[in-house]
Symmetry: C2
Subunit: 319 residues, 2 copies
């Protein structure tokens, strides 16, 4: 289990492990079946790991009263996340994710496209079984936002002239919206839902910013990928945007021409500008703001503490 989940489980909320376990079993049941080939690919996607941060948020926002509907929502949110990853890997023709072969690597583009469609469709089916039409609509809108965010990232690729606003908007679409959705969907119509939504948005944004910092800092043995992978993909992230404001040579960097050695040199140059500390600082401020919002939500001490631990866990993963 990765740090945020471990920290929360160690904190000893007696009801949580059971609900997380049920979510995992529901994910397994949902991935299985559907014919041998598709079921195997969907199951492999599930077993490839993942932090299960989004289901954790759903359950924590549902609170100790988290019921079968919350478990279904938790699984549905994770399925949408997985579907996005599987389709992204098709577009990137990515051989590995989290150190394991991707679906596109093992089953080809058609297998992976179908697996993504399966995971997406099953997410909505699961959620509908919980009987909450508002939740299905919310997940639908969120899923569209994810698609828009991924598309924006690809359309904006290799364009260093795009500034931080565009970057942040993209992060909101491709990452923060699903965190928001997790919080809202876990707490439908309960007081404070809007504040929890905002909490989710900030935690999601911080998560993405720190992920983008980590791409520059490595080390590869920890991140499971080479330093500067984003640069090689042409993905312009906040560390590069901020560094280019400070270092004219980075402004003239041609991402399309980079090789691995060039990407690592660019990472060093970015680090030398202090842009990483700056981006990390922004992320920490978001996490602090997110935790501050919790004070105004009607939560008991334990619920507030656990949601605070998740926010901290997002940072700790990178410290």
């Amino acid at each position: 289990m990765p740090p945020p989940v471990t920290a929360v489980l160690d904190a000893g909320a007696a009801w949580l492990p059971a609900r997380l376990g049920e979510t995992e079993r529901l994910l397994e049941d949902t991935a299985a079946g559907h014919g041998a080939a598709l079921g195997a690919d969907a199951t492999a996607t599930l077993n490839a790991g993942g932090k299960r941060l989004r289901p954790l948020l759903v359950l924590l926002c549902a609170g100790p009263g988290a019921d079968a509907a919350a478990v279904r929502a938790a699984a549905a949110v994770e399925l949408v996340h997985m579907a996005t990853l599987v389709h992204d890997d098709v577009l990137d023709d990515a051989p590995l994710r989290r150190g394991r072969p991707t679906v596109v690597a093992t089953s080809g583009r058609s297998g992976a496209t179908a697996t993504g469609d399966l995971l997406l469709s099953r997410a909505f089916g699961l959620l509908a079984a919980a009987g909450d039409a508002d939740a299905v609509r919310l997940l639908s809108e969120t899923s569209v936002a994810l698609a828009r965010g991924e598309l924006a990232q690809r359309r904006d690729a290799f364009d260093l002239s795009l500034g931080r606003e565009r970057y942040l908007e993209r992060c909101r679409l491709k990452t923060a919206r699903l965190f928001e959705c997790a919080c809202l969907i876990g707490r439908p119509r309960r007081p404070g839902a809007e504040l929890l939504q905002r909490y989710g948005s900030l935690v999601g944004l911080a998560f993405q910013l720190l992920d983008d910092v980590l791409d520059v800092t490595g080390p590869p043995e920890r991140t499971g990928k080479a330093r500067g992978t984003d640069l090689l993909d042409g993905t312009v992230t906040l560390p590069l945007i901020e560094a280019a404001e400070r270092d004219p040579e980075l402004r003239s960097l041609d991402l399309a021409e980079l090789d691995q050695a060039g990407a690592e040199r660019a990472c060093d140059r970015i680090a030398a500008t202090g842009a990483l500390e700056s981006a990390r600082g922004e992320a920490l401020a978001m996490v602090a703001e997110a935790k501050g919002l919790l004070d105004d939500v009607d939560l008991d001490v334990e619920e507030r503490r656990l949601l605070g631990l998740v926010a901290d866990g997002v940072v700790e993963r990178y410290s």
Copy 2:
């Protein structure tokens, strides 16, 4: 408007044109927005036409009492159909569909993958707004069946040893299940739903069989594609399966080696065996069986007549 829809509209069900118009407007509203790029691609997909056979079935099975929920269901079923087409075109790298450039041709693989995900997600959102969780679950299961069917078609490609049972199972998954879903979703919990589901399944199967016959017969000016396109794609359909049982030379046909001229020659050989009449005959028997089932459903004369016209329209398109 294509034959089945025209025939039904000509038949003068006064309530139907208004509901079909509402479905079309709902499809337009659903495709628009979502950012300029995605919205434009989704709208283009919609405007590229299509027979709207599936929405027609939803509305006819709902009957003269078809309400806003039925219109939403009609649009949702069409959106799932469109999502499948867009993703298929990505996998095939298809330049044209229905004589217009595909999304993958105009916006690349990433744009088309995102557009398909958008259409799929919005389908479930629309349906949830109609407030029927059973309908969302049904559409989810159906969407998974479509993904399985498409995958099966790709996995089975170029393999002439696969027989008719496997072919029919694939047609059920990739085509008939969505027709079934259209009928069921239009008539939830009304008496006779199972019979209408079976009617939909048979009409869908007949539709696919006749489509596969048309690929062999052409003519291209009518179908909008060259004869033998399935053969060139390696898709083994009933006409070829039946023809190969009658003509040993077709049994040793190497689909992977075919060029356009070879595909047309193979089409002529298939036609010479009488396999086309045989496949067409099977489709006609399915349509007759489908129409026969309607006698046992509690429908008024007008409803039964219109559903009969749809079934006939599927055949007429090919006569």
